[in-house]
């Protein structure tokens, strides 16, 4: 089936909509024909450097045209691309390079000094650089179909790991092809549409903006990182770029509602607003809906491991009542179960863990068969594997699913998934730390803020500033605790474990 390749999506777009603008960024733009040509040329350079099925290539980009060219170039070689956020500490980058076995680097800049394992680096792969690399090596673009990636893995998305090391979720070509087909149809995308691309490349959200846009021949408009902290500028971006489909975490929307002065901007081109990645608070949705009444509001749900697996278009009843926003119903060809601790289906209306099977579900965690076998288990209907989400959900009488929380300790802060264990592991590396525990504090805009509770070893002293300085090279900024509590000793439960519930209750 030719449509089962991601590169085919781009070839089809170039053949049907070659002269249309594929991507617009700053004062630059690229047509679909040019995007195809540029990514084919860079692919030859990468293939010459060893990129092929089974290899993993670092993809360390700020939002840019070069980033999208490089993504399709890596896809063209059959290698898997591994997004690395340029703002991550070097130690986290190194852990990912080692874990994924990366030898080739592409990025907005060269790899930071001191990283090991990178044999070949292709920084700033603009058209001139690719021309130079091609002529230095005497390379010419090749024709023929793109090779399929090994085990069908298109990319690996690293998320916070509870053991202190980030874990790599393998995302398949099938998942991205299926999800982009579903999304393009569900939102009725056409070549006239202009999609924002707000989420960082290491978020699964950003795959929708890219692959669904390409499938429809629509225009991608990446949101520069420099705007993301500035709600007024972000709202102005929607107006200036005449965005028709906006997709982001709820906190970006809430920031625009609170401080973006939505009434100042002409948002008449907007027709769909999509949010995912964390819970959208109902009061915020109601206010947004009143301020931008002419658009549809859609909640997409799914952990990275399942890509998007459910959807809910908000209707008038959602805006009228004060209950939580549903996560909705399964997307096409996706099966869902709500089960108890023994894996038995719960009675109708009861809450339980959500298990998911279908084309968008991951094949597992890169290099971690033990974790994979714990989370990806035989589906209850006997048809392949399902993913155990760790999310607690309930089916409402009308059939839609309601998200009720986690069965483990994972925290969401501004849509970022954070395992308290990763921060605690960093704190325990401090020579003077005796106990460390990380708990969430509820926040109306960002879902949660992070509180770290720490005690010192006998005869040692620790303080907030010293702990922050110690953690900074180890954990990304988005994981840095917002509130610190230095205690003589952390409270314990009857069974001698740190009492997390007591810590979460203290302010």
């Amino acid at each position: 089936m030719s449509s089962s390749s991601l590169f085919t999506l781009l070839e089809n777009a170039a053949s049907s909509y070659g002269g249309r603008v594929a991507i617009e960024f700053g004062s630059d733009s690229l047509t679909y024909s040019a995007l195809l040509e540029r990514s084919r040329r860079f692919a030859v350079v990468l293939a010459d450097a060893g990129a092929r099925p089974g290899e993993r290539v670092a993809f360390c980009f700020k939002k840019s045209i070069d980033a999208v060219v490089s993504m399709f170039a890596i896809i063209r070689t059959g290698a898997a691309y591994v997004p690395i956020d340029p703002a991550w500490p070097a130690e986290r980058m190194q852990a990912i390079i080692d874990d994924a076995g990366i030898a080739i680097w592409t990025g907005t800049a060269a790899p930071p000094a001191g990283l090991t394992g990178i044999a070949k680096s292709f920084p700033v792969p603009d058209a001139a650089a690719v021309d130079r690399w091609m002529s230095e090596r005497g390379l010419r673009p090749v024709d023929g179909p793109a090779p399929a990636p090994e085990r069908g893995i298109a990319n690996i998305l690293y998320t916070s790991g509870s053991t202190g090391r980030p874990k790599g979720v393998e995302i398949t070509t099938l998942s991205l092809v299926h999800f982009s087909a579903w999304g393009a149809e569900y939102f009725g995308l056409t070549p006239e549409d202009r999609l924002s691309n707000h989420a960082p490349y290491n978020f699964d959200l950003s795959t929708f903006d890219i692959f669904a846009a390409v499938r429809a021949g629509a225009t991608m408009c990446p949101v520069p990182e420099s705007l993301k902290m500035f709600p007024y500028q972000m709202a102005k971006f929607i107006a200036d770029r005449r965005i028709s489909v906006w997709y982001s975490v709820p906190s970006a929307l809430i920031m625009m509602q609170l401080r973006g002065k939505l009434g100042d901007h002409d948002l008449s081109t907007l027709r769909h607003v999509i949010f995912a990645g964390e819970v959208m608070p109902k009061p915020a949705l109601q206010t947004l809906g009143a301020e931008i009444p002419h658009v549809t509001w859609t909640n997409l749900y799914g952990p990275t491991e399942t890509n998007v697996c459910t959807h809910h278009r908000c209707d008038s009843a959602d805006f009228a009542d004060d209950g939580p926003v549903p996560i909705g119903r399964a997307i096409t060809e996706t099966r869902l179960w709500i089960v108890d601790e023994r894996g038995t289906a719960v009675a109708d209306g009861e809450s339980g863990e959500l298990w998911v099977a279908g084309p968008t579900v991951t094949t597992g965690y890169c290099g971690d068969t033990e974790l994979t076998s714990r989370r990806c288990t035989p589906a209850p209907d006997g048809d392949g594997l399902c993913y155990r989400t760790g999310d607690r959900v309930r089916r409402r009488a009308d059939g839609v699913l309601m998200f009720e929380g986690r069965i483990d300790r994972m925290i969401k802060r501004g849509g970022h998934r954070i395992e308290p264990g990763e921060i605690e592991a960093a704190l325990y590396r401090h020579p003077d730390v005796r106990q460390a525990a990380v708990v969430p504090l509820a926040d109306p805009v960002f879902g949660s803020r992070i509180k770290a509770c720490v005690s010192a070893k006998e005869g040692r002293a620790i303080d907030e500033a010293g702990l922050i300085a110690f953690c900074r090279p180890l954990v990304p900024t988005y994981m840095m605790p917002d509130v610190w509590h230095i205690m003589d000793a952390l409270p314990e439960t009857d069974r001698g474990k740190i009492d997390l519930q007591a810590l979460a209750r203290e302010v």
């Binding site: 420099s226 902290m229 007024y232 401080r259 002065k261 501004g414 960002f446 300085a469 917002d482």
Partner: protein, 80 residues
Amino acid sequence: MNAREQLREYVFGTLLPMDRAGWPADDASLFDHGMDSLRLMQMLVFVEEKLKVQLPDQEVTPERIESINSIAAWIEEHRG
């Protein structure tokens, strides 16, 4: 304490806490010291509630919140 000192105390004491001996200069970039969108929102609330200065949302730009100096100058523009 004047507004600049209160701002500095808040930013380096509470928002992006660090060892007082190592507090950056007033022209140092806050983006290099962990400023992110959540912390920026908290800082704006601090300026409005504690310093009693209303900062227009449309003026929130990277240049204005770059450093203690630039924020202090911006606050000065809007003092009643």
